[in-house]
């Protein structure tokens, strides 16, 4: 793994209209920085794959630009050494072995055939390398797609839904691999339709819905405040105490009998309960708050 700084990826006012006037991406702009893992998030069909394919010169933008290191992909002097991409798990000839697939791509990229064995080892497929791809599971295909992306030891990785089909162990492995890649200075752009899958992996997020940017920034900037969950037998007395604290405070009963409080920290809720003499049976913060925000941001209104 190289320690060189990866390229910056820039999407500027990108628009893609497919035939029959289907607008897949609309005036989309965002920047992906080296040294960080950027999650490219949105529901299925929101335009993530189209955007990535524009970045990689496979789809021609209708308007705007998608640039790697300031250039369109097809103008890069050494595309495979600059960007490694894993787009989907289906682009393999079923009769070929994994090793031979990699050797085909290595040759086209001007790389020695020995790289095939090196990347097979990097993704843990050494033992299956000589098996024909018709026998490969979805998870193995995902690993092979990643191995293909790694062939040129690129400064940037662009991965489309790489966690699909991976078992929990595989996802954990992918997470630590991508983190290490970014820590070494690489640029990592990884798409997903589920934030929860990526929450522990990404530094930055770019969220799109229906082809348009919803939010871009650091993962922590997504969080709009803590969500506190509590249970109390003195609920009737406690809630007015909490709501009195400010106009931004909300409390909702949930079907499981707990109360969800927004606008106050857990410490503040605990203090108010204590000083009000209310008994608490549970006081915790919501762990999937980000997922909730993500769902709110990308909720379809169609």
């Amino acid at each position: 793994m190289t320690a060189t700084t990866g390229p910056t990826i820039e999407v500027a006012s990108l628009t893609k209209v497919f035939r029959r006037s289907v607008t897949a991406v609309k005036d989309l702009s965002f920047t992906v920085s080296p040294g960080r893992v950027t999650g490219f998030l949105g529901p299925n069909g929101s335009g993530k794959t189209t955007t990535l394919r524009c970045l990689l010169g496979l789809v021609r933008p209708t308007d705007g630009q998608a640039l790697v290191d300031g250039r369109p992909y097809r103008d890069l002097p050494n595309p495979t050494g600059m960007v490694g991409a894993a787009l989907e798990a289906s682009g393999f000839h079923p009769g070929r072995t994994a090793r031979n697939h990699l050797r085909v791509v290595a040759a086209a990229a001007g790389l020695p055939a020995s790289r095939a064995d090196e990347v097979l080892e990097a993704v843990g497929l050494t033992d299956a390398g000589r098996r024909r791809l018709v026998e490969y599971s979805l998870g193995m295909r995902q690993r092979l797609a990643l191995a293909t992306a790694l062939l040129g030891d690129p400064g940037a990785l662009i991965l489309d839904e790489p966690a699909n089909g991976l078992d929990p162990e595989g996802i954990a492995w992918l997470r630590s691999y991508l983190r290490a890649r970014a820590a070494a200075g690489g640029t990592v752009l990884v798409s997903s339709h589920a934030l929860s899958e990526m929450q522990q992996t990404v530094d930055d997020v770019v969220i799109i819905n229906k082809g348009e940017l919803v939010q871009a920034g650091t993962l922590s900037s997504l969080s709009t405040g803590e969500r506190v969950v509590l249970r109390s037998p003195d609920e009737a007395r406690l809630l007015p105490l909490l709501l009195r604290e400010g106009s931004g405070v909300e409390a909702d009963s949930r079907p499981d009998g707990s109360i969800l409080v927004t606008g106050l920290s857990a410490a503040e809720v605990g203090h108010l309960a204590f000083s009000g003499g209310c008994e608490l049976h549970e006081l915790s913060t919501e762990s999937d708050a980000l997922e909730r925000i993500f769902l709110d941001l990308t909720r379809g209104d169609a």
Partner: protein, 270 residues
Amino acid sequence: MSAPARDLVASEWRKVATTRIVWVLTAVAVVYSSVQAGTLVLIAAPGLMEGLAGTVLTDDLLAKPEYITAVLGQAGTASIFVLLLGVIAMTSEFRHMTITSTFLATPMRGRVLVAKMALFAGIGAGVAVVAFAGVLLTTTLALVPFDHAPITLEAAASVLAGAVVGLALMAILGVSVGSLITNQVAAIVTALVWVMLVEALVTLAFPAVGQWLPGGALNAAMAVALRADMSGGMSAADVLPPWGGILVLLAYAGVFAAIASRTTLRRDIT
């Protein structure tokens, strides 16, 4: 940009060498052309066909050097398989979506097309050599029981040279057809219907037109006019000179490739 042309051709060769289709179709081509040659010897052999309807052989064909040349020329019947190999080389990239990784490694798409054509020219030539070897062996063995004109080195060399050039061109044509019609089934059906139906009928009805079609041009390139005369009813007057046939085939491949690189190969890969 990106890797040198030599690396692209090497990559294309690995694609071919790591799947079975080339080996299978080459074997079929050798068997097919050898059977054709053997059959031509047997139907011309005195005595063997007597009694069959319409087979009154007034001449002793096997005594004619040009007939022996035509028998060797059956190596050219491997051309249909070579055409299909070229078609499949390009269309299987779209069928299995390996075109994605191909274009990621080589974003200048025209370079992929040129590399494939270069490699398949070589493969076409290679198939010509093994098909010719099979035909030569079969012909030699089939001729053993009969009196016949000798197989001259000169005739063998000219047929081999013609087959090498003709099949190399046919493979290039196949790649260009596959890049123009990227749906594999549609491309194969189109190629077969064209060769076996459209071109055969046109050549039969209008030999003067037939010489300008790929099959007629192939015959001209291989300079085996007699074979065409026997099977398609072409007279010698309706066959282009060899260099004319070569140019016509190159023109077809070039035009198809040029159209493809401005249409099908420019399309979004989704």
